[in-house]
Amino acid sequence: MTQYRTQVKIIADVLCTARDMNTEGNGVGITTLLRKGNLSYSRMSKLVSELVGSGLLEELRAEKVARYKISPKGIQFLFAYSHFEEFTQSFGLRL
């Protein structure tokens, strides 16, 4: 059965992709985020600009192409997410 992801889970997934796929240190493109994030282009663009605005992602611009990497604040968010996910799962709930 299809299971919807919560908004917090979607954000965590995007941040995880930005962290794990950034192997060369020059960030990841929107295509990678789309492929791993399983969201539509318009929804992902909106989400990414919100994450950049809130300081969870950093935008790197090279030759008019935007690439994204996780910020220290984003890493802190993932740390908090993994902890509180465990906490809510204890109560049989999803974060």
Binding site: F84, S90, F91, L93
Partner: protein, 219 residues
């Protein structure tokens, strides 16, 4: 409550232990809400804030009846109903968290939200509130067990066991009203409820120490 003397004082002091546990869970949930902005944690925090205030009010009423806190005995009935109302609201939010989880995850759930029809004639408000608390906590138990069936996390099973104890405490409370000759029942009821709440405290402890260890590892 049929208890009197030092046992009654002890039983009422246990209400404050329940309040402490509930405030702790609410505090961790609020910290999580600040860090992740998760609506689940908002509902969890709301539930435990209501529960905590409910326990505080019921504890105060109990101590007031024992003349330990003066001036409360005159408003005992009103305050007792307020305390029970707060507690029921807390359990409602706990059940509501599961309802929202069912709705969000699109899972079938074991939704027991078909509300049972009860005849309320002649039943006191406090009895209705106790019944509602029992109903909400049982719904929480069923959903928590369902979640355990999917995740197989031992913590989830422990929490379900804690909630079962709280629900059984509610049953014993009814029994103590019907069988007022058995004076130990109210104490048994409060003990079951408090042990249940202390079991719910386990995730808070794990969270506090686990987070410190992980943070130490990280730095």
């Amino acid at each position: 409550m049929a208890l009197a003397g030092p046992i009654a004082v002890f039983a009422n002091m246990l209400q404050f232990v329940g309040a402490f546990v509930s405030f702790s869970i609410a505090y961790v949930s609020l910290r999580g809400l600040r860090e992740t902005e998760s609506p689940t944690l908002l509902r969890l925090a709301t539930a435990f804030v209501f529960l905590a205030f409910g326990f505080v009010v019921q504890g105060l009423v109990g101590l007031g009846t024992e003349a330990i806190i003066p001036g409360i005995a005159a408003f005992a009935t009103t305050m007792l109903i307020s305390g029970l109302l707060l507690e029921t609201t807390g359990y409602f939010f706990l059940a509501f968290s599961h309802v929202m989880d069912v709705a969000m995850s699109k899972k079938m759930g074991l939704a027991l939200m078909v509300f049972p029809i009860v005849t309320v004639s002649g039943v006191q408000v406090s009895d209705i509130l106790r019944f509602l608390s029992f109903y909400f906590i049982m719904y929480g138990v069923v959903e928590t067990l369902y979640s355990y069936g999917k995740t197989h996390r031992p913590d989830t099973l422990i929490i379900a066991a804690g909630m079962v104890l709280i629900a059984l405490g509610g049953l014993v409370e009814w029994l103590s009203i019907l069988e007022s000759t058995l004076i130990a029942l109210p104490l048994v009821q409060i003990l079951m409820k408090e042990i249940g709440l202390l079991i719910l405290f386990i995730p808070v402890l794990k969270f506090t120490f686990g987070r410190k260890e992980m943070w130490d590892d990280a730095i």
